[in-house]
C-alpha cells in the first residue's frame, strides 16, 4: 500500500516537473524576439473573428425568425394588399440578388501556379484584376447571377487583393477562387475558354478549370450593414 502510494507520488512529481519545464520553455521561447504588439494584435484579431462568426450566426437566426413571421402573416391573413406586397417583395428581392437562386451554368476554379518559374513572382499568382476579367466576360455573355467563393456579386462587388487572399463583400477568402455563374452553360463556357486573359494565365501554370453544370446554387447577397447606413444621405426621386 505504502509502496503503491509512493509510486503514484513519484510519477506525479515527475510529470509535474516536466510540465513546469515545458511551460517555462514555451513561454520563454515565444516571447523575447517576437514582436509583442504584433502578437497582441493577432490575439485581438482572432477574438474579433470569433465574435464575427458568432454575430453572423445570430444574424442568420434573426433573419429566419423575421422571415417566418412574414410568411405566417401571409398565410394567416386574408389581406389582399399584404399578400400582393409579399409577392412584389419576393420578385424585387430576386432581381436585387437578395434571394438564393439555382439554375444551369458554369463553375470556374482558379488556383495559383504550383511553383514559381523564371518570371516575376506576380505572374504566378491570381490578382483581383484577373478575377475582374473573368467576371466581366461572364457579364458580357449573359450571366444572370454570379458568386465568388459563395459571395453574391452585386452592383458594388469588387474583389480586392489582400496579400495571398482576396476580399469579396468584406469577407476574406484564400485560394482556390471558385466563381459560379448561372446562364447559358455553353455560351459561358466558350466565353471563358476563349478569353485571352485566361490563356495568358495558363501560360504561367495558373490553374483554371471550367465546368458546365446542370444545377448551380448561388447564395443571396448578405447585408451586414444596417438599412439606415445603406440609405444614408440618399433620396429616391420619382420618375
Amino acid at each position: 500500500m505504502r509502496k503503491g502510494y509512493r509510486t503514484v507520488m513519484f510519477i506525479g512529481f515527475v510529470l509535474f516537473g516536466i510540465l513546469i519545464n515545458v511551460q517555462l520553455r514555451s513561454t520563454l521561447a515565444s516571447n523575447p524576439n517576437a514582436d509583442t504588439s504584433a502578437k497582441e494584435y493577432a490575439i485581438e484579431l482572432e477574438k474579433e473573428r470569433n465574435e464575427g462568426k458568432r454575430l453572423m450566426e445570430q444574424l442568420a437566426v434573426k433573419e429566419a425568425e423575421l422571415e417566418q413571421l412574414w410568411q405566417n402573416l401571409g398565410t394567416n391573413s386574408n389581406n389582399q394588399e399584404i399578400n400582393e406586397l409579399l409577392r412584389k417583395r419576393d420578385f424585387e428581392y430576386l432581381r436585387a440578388g437578395l434571394t438564393t437562386v439555382s439554375g444551369r451554368g458554369i463553375v470556374i476554379t482558379m488556383e495559383d501556379a504550383p511553383a514559381k518559374g523564371e518570371l516575376d513572382v506576380n505572374e504566378y499568382i491570381i490578382h483581383d484584376g484577373n478575377i475582374n476579367d473573368v467576371l466581366e466576360a461572364l457579364k458580357e455573355n449573359g450571366a444572370q447571377a454570379i458568386s465568388i467563393n459563395g459571395e453574391r456579386v452585386v452592383f458594388n462587388t469588387k474583389p480586392v487583393c489582400a496579400g495571398p487572399t482576396i476580399i469579396v463583400n468584406e469577407n476574406r477568402y484564400p485560394p482556390p477562387y471558385v466563381i459560379e455563374a448561372i446562364g447559358d452553360p455553353d455560351v459561358l463556357y466558350d466565353a471563358i475558354e476563349t478569353l485571352p486573359q485566361v490563356a495568358f494565365m495558363r501560360l504561367t501554370d495558373i490553374r483554371i478549370q471550367t465546368e458546365k453544370k446542370e444545377e448551380i446554387i448561388i447564395n443571396r447577397y448578405r447585408t451586414y450593414s444596417s438599412t439606415e447606413s445603406q440609405l444614408k444621405g440618399i433620396e429616391v426621386i420619382e420618375k
Binding site: Q23, Y41, L45, G52, E81, T99, N156
Partner: protein, 229 residues
C-alpha cells in the same frame, strides 16, 4: 498523518491538473497564432480594423432586426404598420437593384482623351472598380446605371454599357462619400496617375446633389433563375 498525505496528494493532483490545462491552452493558442507569423504587423492591424468595423455593423444590423421582430410581434394585428414595412423592404430592394432614380452627395467625373490614346472600356472599368471599393451607393456612366450584371465592353472606338453605345466625353457619376472616393482615386500609383500618363483630360467635381437615373426594368433578366428557399 494519513489525512495530511491525502491532502498533499490532492493538492499535487490539483496543481498537476491546472498545469496541464494551462499547457494545453497555451499550445492551442500558439497554433492559432502561428498562421499570423508570416504577416507583418501592418497587415494584421489592417485586418483587425476591417474585422472590428464589420462586427460593429453586424451589431447594428442585429439591433435593427431585433427591433423589427419586436414591433412585428407587438403589432401583429396592425395591418397598416405591416404594409408600411413591406413597402420599405420593396423600395430598399429596388434601390439595391438599381431600379430607382436616386439623389445624394457624390462625385461627377468627366474623362476624355487628350493625346493619342483613346479612352477604352478597361480604363473606365478600372475607374469604376476603384469607386466600388469605397462603399459607393450608386454609379453611372453617361447616365447608364451600373447594376449587378452590367457589362462595360469595347465597341469599336467607343464603349458599350448595358447594351447601349456611349461616346466620349464619358461622365461618371457616383453617390457616396465624396472625400473618400476622391482620395481612393488619387492614391499614389492609382488610377488617376495612370490616366495622367495616358494624357486623358480628367475633371473631378464634388457635388451635394448628384442624380443617378434608374436602369430600364427590362434590363435585369431573371428568366434563368429559380428561387431557392
Amino acid at each position: 498523518m494519513k489525512l495530511f498525505k491525502s491532502i498533499s496528494l490532492a493538492v499535487v493532483c490539483l496543481i498537476l491538473g491546472v498545469m496541464m490545462a494551462w499547457q494545453f491552452s497555451s499550445v492551442k493558442q500558439n497554433q492559432v497564432l502561428a498562421q499570423y507569423e508570416k504577416k507583418n504587423i501592418n497587415e494584421i492591424f489592417d485586418e483587425l480594423l476591417i474585422e472590428k468595423n464589420n462586427n460593429e455593423n453586424l451589431k447594428l444590423r442585429l439591433q435593427e432586426l431585433q427591433l423589427e421582430v419586436d414591433t412585428f410581434k407587438a403589432g401583429e394585428t396592425d395591418v397598416q404598420e405591416n404594409i408600411k414595412a413591406l413597402e420599405e423592404a420593396v423600395l430598399l430592394a429596388r434601390i439595391k437593384a438599381g431600379l430607382e432614380t436616386i439623389k445624394g452627395p457624390g462625385l461627377i467625373i468627366t474623362i476624355e482623351a487628350g493625346g493619342i490614346k483613346t479612352v477604352e472600356d478597361r480604363h473606365i472599368e478600372e475607374l469604376i472598380n476603384e469607386l466600388k471599393a469605397t462603399d459607393v451607393q450608386a454609379v453611372s456612366i453617361n447616365d447608364e446605371r451600373i447594376v449587378g450584371m452590367s457589362e462595360i465592353r469595347k465597341a469599336g472606338d467607343y464603349i458599350m454599357v448595358n447594351g447601349n453605345q456611349l461616346v466620349p466625353p464619358y461622365t461618371i457619376k457616383a453617390i457616396g462619400d465624396p472625400d473618400n472616393m476622391e482620395r481612393s482615386l488619387r492614391l499614389m500609383a492609382g488610377v488617376l496617375e495612370k490616366f495622367q500618363y495616358y494624357e486623358f483630360i480628367v475633371n473631378i467635381k464634388k457635388e451635394e446633389n448628384v442624380i443617378i437615373p434608374a436602369i430600364r426594368e427590362e434590363y435585369i433578366k431573371i428568366d434563368k433563375l429559380t428561387p431557392v428557399r
